[in-house]
């Protein structure tokens, strides 16, 4: 599904991603963990096409997408659920959703939007507000997941969909992610600091990122290792 080869990204003359290589298989739920500042969000954005000046290659289903625009990558089937979705005042949430929703008629799109809102326990009143404007942290996370359901990507990159959530909301978000993967056979790259959300997901692979590069990959046992030893032991072993 996704292959990243020897990726280097510099932002304001500082190297944020250093010689990073990563593979995500079809229908894989891949968890990416790492401490604050390790470059996880930068990696997520680079897959989405946020940065022009990069070295290395990104392949999506065999196609080199390194030079493609954000919009082109989205149309190929890549989705990014943001850690902190930006607020866009003046753009109605409902107008935005009917624009991105797939459906042959307006009624079909509205029905789809309402059914997903019900499924994700999103208050319909939110749909009348400006995009992300005045949404709580939890509402923003749910709304990112809602957009994933509407856009039906083949690869969904979810940047900390669990941060700031209470335990019930966390379970609901995890279920929504899990259900989407089952229904669509999509691949998911889930970025998180903590192992909490992983307790509710069927994970295929785990990678750990430190200082801009992947330092270790493995199966779900790697999460337990991190829980017990922290990230520092990986820092020490990679010095």
């Amino acid at each position: 599904m996704l292959e990243i080869e020897n990726l280097y990204i510099k932002i304001n003359d500082k190297e944020i991603i250093k010689n990073l290589s990563l593979k995500i298989e079809d229908n894989e739920l891949h968890v990416l963990m790492g401490p604050n500042g390790s470059g996880k969000s930068t990696l997520a954005k680079s897959i989405m096409g946020y940065f022009d000046n990069i070295n290395g290659r990104i392949l999506f289903n065999g196609l080199d997408i390194t030079k493609l625009s954000i919009e082109e990558r989205s149309k190929l089937g890549i989705f990014l659920g943001f850690q902190n979705p930006i607020e866009i005042e003046g753009l109605s949430t409902m107008t935005f959703l009917t624009h991105i929703a797939k459906g042959s008629s307006f009624k079909e799109k509205i029905d789809l939007i309402y059914s997903i809102a019900d499924r994700l326990k999103i208050d319909k009143e939110m749909l009348s507000r400006s995009l992300n404007f005045g949404f709580s942290g939890g509402e923003k996370k749910r709304f990112e997941i809602m957009q994933m359901y509407l856009l039906k990507p083949k690869l969904a990159i979810l940047d900390e969909p669990d941060s700031g959530l209470d335990v019930d909301s966390l379970k609901e978000i995890a279920k929504a992610i899990s259900d989407y993967k089952k229904e669509s056979n999509a691949s998911i790259l889930l970025i998180t600091h903590y192992s909490r959300i992983t307790n509710y997901l069927d994970i295929n692979r785990v990678s750990v990122m430190l200082n801009g590069t992947i330092v270790k990959s493995g199966d779900i046992n790697l999460i337990k290792e991190i829980e017990q030893k922290g990230y520092n032991y990986l820092v020490d072993s990679n010095v």
Partner: protein, 279 residues
């Protein structure tokens, strides 16, 4: 009451405040071949002087430099929709003695002055939408709480692409307007760096014994981060701008009851958005 003189006196009062902010209008496309539904009244290059006793929707088509003055008197609970299309030099006076929901939509290149007068215990809820595409629009909204208990809520929103809008607002509460309420809100959304939006709200309070008096302005520019977020959902620059305009128009017409008018605005929306080259 001579409302034209009343407007002149407010123009004089505010002259110093606004003297540096005047735009020339341009002779732009007039949308002259529109299919306006027969159920909607149309005024073409002329003045209007009308008592309104029920819901009413009027499309004003202008394509000349000559100044026109329209006077609309509302005597019963009503919804009034005024759509200005084309280019011209227009003054509108709306006086309300009851409960009025007022929607104003402006498309084209205009020098437009609106005077909204609230009479005793009247209630006016007004929304104005300015769509400025590759043109200039110079607009001054005067809201005048004239008598006791009058309430005026006036919100104006300009959406600007490769154009200029000077949106001036002058809210006045007269000595007689005790227990009145005034809200003047001027907002603008700029879609590109070539556009210019200047909001100038001002309030003149003669009697502070009121329920509320507020005014404000804000400008929103779709910055790079906002655009990238929308691009990540498969939208390109042109469709982002179209979406923004669509959203503003949808919001403005959402409270309009007249279905024929809503459909007409939808056709206008398609024509304006599809026809004008944003890039």
């Amino acid at each position: 009451m001579d409302y034209v003189n009343l407007l002149l006196s407010l123009e004089n009062e505010s002259r110093e405040l606004f003297k540096r902010y005047n735009l020339d209008i341009e002779n732009k496309e007039t949308y002259s071949e529109l299919n306006i539904p027969k159920s909607l009244s149309t005024v073409k290059n002329s003045d209007l002087d009308k008592d309104i006793e029920s819901d009413s929707s009027i499309v004003f088509l202008y394509n000349e430099e000559k100044e026109h003055i329209n006077k609309i008197f509302v005597n019963k609970k009503s919804e009034i929709n005024l759509i200005f299309i084309g280019h011209g030099n227009i003054k509108n006076i709306v006086t309300n003695s009851d409960d009025l929901k007022l929607n104003i939509i402006v498309i084209g290149s205009f020098k437009l002055k609106n005077l909204i007068v609230g009479n005793v215990n009247s209630n006016t809820n007004a929304k104005e939408l300015i769509i400025c595409r590759s043109s200039n629009i110079d607009i001054t909204d005067y809201i005048l709480n004239y008598e006791e208990g009058s309430k005026i809520n006036f919100e104006t929103l300009s959406i600007i692409s490769k154009g200029k809008v000077f949106s001036k607002g002058y809210a006045k509460i007269t000595n007689k307007a005790i227990n009145s309420f005034s809200n003047l809100e001027i907002r603008g959304i700029i879609l590109d760096k070539e556009s210019q939006f200047v909001p100038l709200p001002h309030m003149n309070i003669e009697n502070a014994n009121v329920l509320g008096a507020q005014h404000g302005a804000s400008i929103l520019f779709l910055d790079e981060e906002m655009r990238k977020y929308l691009e990540s959902r498969g939208l390109n620059k042109k469709s982002i701008d179209q979406l923004y305009i669509t959203s503003a128009i949808d919001n403005s017409i959402s409270t309009i009851k007249n279905d024929e008018l809503k459909k007409f605005i939808d056709t206008l929306k398609d024509r304006i958005i599809l026809n004008v080259n944003i890039e």
